[in-house]
């Protein structure tokens, strides 16, 4: 499988702010890749570098096998981009903008355009200033999905969409994947990422902290287990990888590192299991773990400063 996007050791500063601090990103051709990170982590900056709008200070980046800065125009023919906050021209109708963007890329599939307008329930005759945020977003989405391109770069594309439209969006992404297109999806909506993405990269403060398939990432995190036992549990606390153990009579609640789950289950069955609930880690927990490390670190610093 070839790579649609490869980024390694990307650095970009704006004055004293280090927006990107050695970021890595690999997107395989044909996959939907989730791009996650808290606000200000550098997601949009990375995307702007990949689009040749910003020039990286150092590091390597390739998009569709080319340099994003020097070959910008050539690569853009095969890319459709949806920004998180779409601004339209006040005196141009949505339909005009969709067609303009289509022509400025590789071209537009008119049948698909009509179908998408219907599915997204978009009125293409309204002028730019009269669209709501969600509808402006739909204009850019229709233009992107109807364009004849190989790579879609979507930067928080569903902000402002209602749940029904969110659903339509997810179907569209799946259709694009089935057609063999590659999608880089930056998002805050973790259920959306979980539903759609083959692989994800989580970034924090301009660096990639996790990258891999959801299954890979889950492996690194904890499963929560709640069990009702026949007898009193024994020895759970001594097992490696067990956290937040809470025993109340015969009821047990605990968190366990997913790769240690086997030993815990053996121990539980020895006491006789009446009922068992085991919840795999959600992406949310994964995400929050990285996020909260930040918060904890910040607290420590704050306390230190207070003393």
């Amino acid at each position: 499988m070839t790579k649609a996007i490869t980024v390694s050791g990307l650095h970009k500063s704006f004055g004293r702010t280090h927006a990107l601090d050695g970021l890595d990103l690999d997107v395989e051709t044909g996959e939907v890749h989730g791009f996650l990170g808290p606000n200000g982590a550098g997601k949009s900056t990375t995307i702007r570098v990949l689009l040749g709008l910003l020039r990286a200070d150092s590091g390597a980046a390739q998009i569709l096998g080319r340099d994003p800065w020097t070959d910008a125009v050539e690569t853009h023919r095969r890319i459709a981009y949806v920004p998180g906050d779409v601004t339209l021209w006040r005196n141009l109708s949505g339909g005009e903008v969709i067609d303009l963007y289509g022509r400025l890329r590789g071209g537009l599939d008119t049948r698909r355009r009509a179908e998408l307008i219907e599915r997204f329930e978009l009125d293409p005759t309204k002028k730019g200033r009269t669209y709501s945020k969600g509808n402006r977003q739909k204009v850019a989405l229709v233009a992107a999905f109807a364009s004849d391109v190989d790579l879609l770069i979507l930067d928080e594309p569903t902000s402002g969409l209602d749940p029904l439209m969110e659903e339509v969006f997810q179907r569209c992404v799946e259709e694009e994947r089935n057609r063999g297109r590659t999608i880089l999806l930056s998002s805050h909506i973790l259920s959306e990422v979980e539903e759609l993405c083959d692989r994800v990269s989580i970034i924090r403060k301009g660096r990639t902290v996790e990258s891999g398939s959801l299954a890979d990432l889950r492996h690194l995190t904890r499963t929560s287990v709640t069990a009702e036992l026949a007898g009193t549990p024994d020895g759970l606390a001594r097992l490696p990888g067990v956290h937040d153990l809470d025993v109340q009579g015969r009821r047990v609640r605990l968190q366990v590192d997913t790769d240690q789950l086997d030993a815990v289950l053996r121990s539980l069955t020895e006491s006789g299991v009446r009922s068992l609930t085991s919840t795999p880690p959600t992406l949310e927990e994964l995400f929050l773990r990285h996020y909260q490390e930040d918060a904890v670190a910040a607290d420590v610093v704050a306390e230190g400063a207070a003393r």
């Binding site: 910003l54 339909g95 303009l100 963007y101 009125d123 009269t130």
Partner: protein
């Protein structure tokens, strides 16, 4: 029950809640704009007695001027009639109309900026959700304009008091009155349109109509008594007759008009929803034919190109038409002739006058080119450029679309001005068209400088307005003040040959074109290399 509860009108104090905060906020946002507008206007007015003293030193010369104005209808159309030969009266005559226009523009900009602009951008919604009454925004905007007008009026009164306090008071109040009338007019128009740009354009159109009415009235009569003059707030200002047996009751016209217009604006504002307007936007086509960055740029700029074209053509016709009359008048005064000759060259007064007017329009065209080039800046900072550039559109191609319109458009409007001159003056088009084209070299240098700023240091791009303003000031005031050559040479327009009448000098024109090309090239190179701002 519920309906009845909604129909209850909140008390006035609640409707105005938050006005003070909004006003302070508006004045803080305008802390540069208002002082600059007011200072430029006041400087123009307050420098005039000295200039006039230099031009018409003796009472006999001044009396002569007054007598001539009675017979010169074309010049009366430009500046209005004279009512007395004192320096104060001549000052009010010479700058009254223009100070009024400038005050009106200030007022309309301030009001639209704090009403329709806020609603269009959606900022108003956030404000309105706070402890802000229904009428607070409009009131704050009108008060901000009132602050600007009051400051201007005070400066004029204080600065001209040396020529006589009574006349200064009348003149200051009159200028502030014109500003207030157009501020309240803008408040009405801002309720009607959905776009701030259109609101500004329509109000400016009303201002233009007021100028034309006054000009028509004044060319017909020499004492401002024409009905047409009385229909225009700019005419009221001259009919207030500062320094010539003031007619104080005319101030009541300003007050009545301002009060009536403010009343209409409040009534309209109370009958519509936030963000909505009385002239709703019509739907556009469901599919479009725009297919390139250049087509997009033309679509965005064509309206303004059309407006500038019409304006320049009409200005050419008007100036061309009054050339003979003005040249006659100026010819009788040595000092005035010297100024015109400094501006327009020494080859006969008619040509010198034409040349001065062509130069004037060239300076104004510099404003066009800056506005047009800075569309690039606007597109970039608004975030609209980013998705366009994320398509298969190179930065140069994107910029080229706007720059062709900026640089080609300045050729177009100067040519149209030339045609207007030829028509208005009724003589062969060749020399005057050539004279207008020569101005383009200066216009392009300013435009290329704007490209350079935008390309290399986008944060400073707006400074191009400052450059255009400085060039305008040098070209406008420089000759009258007999400014040293070194100052006049700072402006590219100072190096252009004085055409028609003068000798065509290719040297400076080619050098200026070369400078423009170099600046343009450097700017575009910068644009290719830098980060796009968001």
């Amino acid at each position: 029950m519920t309906a009845a509860a909604f129909a209850v009108r909140p008390r006035l104090s609640r409707q105005l809640a938050g006005t003070g905060t909004l006003l302070r906020f508006a004045l803080r946002r305008d802390r540069v704009m208002i002082p600059v507008w007011v200072a430029v206007n006041a400087l123009m007015v307050l420098s005039m007695p000295n200039t006039l003293k230099g031009l018409y030193a003796t009472p006999a010369e001044r009396a002569d001027l007054v007598a001539q104005m009675a017979t010169n209808s074309s010049l009366r159309a430009m500046v209005g009639p004279v009512f007395s030969d004192s320096l104060g009266a001549l000052t009010a005559w010479r700058v009254g109309v223009y100070a009024g226009v400038l005050a009106a523009v200030t007022g309309l900009f301030v009001v639209v900026r704090h009403t329709r602009d806020e609603e269009e951008s959606g900022r108003q919604e956030l404000l309105a959700s706070g402890m802000v009454g229904r009428r607070a925004s409009l009131t704050a905007a009108l008060l901000a304009a009132a602050v600007a007008n009051a400051a201007l009026g005070l400066l004029v009164v204080a600065g001209l008091a040396g020529q006589g306090a009574t006349g200064a008071l009348a003149f200051g109040l009159g200028i502030a009155g014109v500003g207030t009338v157009f501020a309240t007019m803008a408040a009405i128009v801002a309720q009607l349109t959905e776009s701030a740009r259109l609101a500004r354009g329509l109000t400016a159109g009303v201002l233009g109509a007021a100028f034309v009415l006054r000009a028509a009235g004044d060319s017909a009569t020499d004492d401002g008594s024409s009905v047409l003059t009385w229909l225009s707030p700019l005419g009221w200002l001259e009919n207030l007759r500062p320094y010539a047996a003031e007619r104080w009751w005319v101030l009541l016209l300003f007050a009545a008009a301002a009060a009536a217009q403010a009343g209409v604006a409040y009534a309209l504002a109370g009958r519509r929803d936030v963000g909505m307007s009385f002239l709703p936007t019509r739907p556009g086509p469901a599919s479009g034919r725009l297919g390139s960055a250049a087509a997009l740029a033309w679509r965005l700029q064509r309206g303004s190109v059309l407006g500038w074209s019409i304006g320049f053509f009409l200005a050419g016709v008007v100036y061309g038409g009054m050339t003979e009359g003005a040249a006659d008048l100026v010819g009788d005064n040595d000092n005035a002739r010297r100024i015109i000759e400094r501006m327009g060259g020494q080859a006969g007064l008619t040509d010198a006058f034409l040349s001065a007017m062509v130069g004037m329009l060239g300076l104004v065209a510099a404003l066009y080119v800056v506005a047009s080039v800075l569309r690039l800046h606007g597109e970039e900072t608004s975030g609209r450029a980013e998705p366009v550039l994320a398509n298969a559109v190179g930065r140069l191609r994107w910029a080229a679309g706007h720059l062709v319109i900026a640089f080609g458009g300045s050729v177009l409007i100067m040519l149209l001005a030339g045609l207007g001159f030829a028509l208005g003056h009724g003589r062969e088009a060749g020399p005057i068209l050539g004279a207008c084209l020569v101005q383009v070299a200066g216009v392009w240098v300013i435009g290329a400088l704007a490209v350079l700023l935008h390309g290399i240091a986008p944060r400073t791009a707006m400074a191009a307005w400052g450059v255009a303003g400085a060039v305008l000031l040098i070209g406008w005031v420089g000759p009258a003040l007999d400014a040293p050559r070194a100052v006049l040479d700072l402006s590219p327009f100072g190096h252009l040959p004085k055409l028609p009448g003068g000798e065509m000098q290719w040297g400076p024109v080619l050098v200026l074109l070369l400078v423009a090309v170099v600046l343009l090239g450097a700017g575009l190179a910068g644009l290719r290399r830098r980060d796009m701002t968001t």
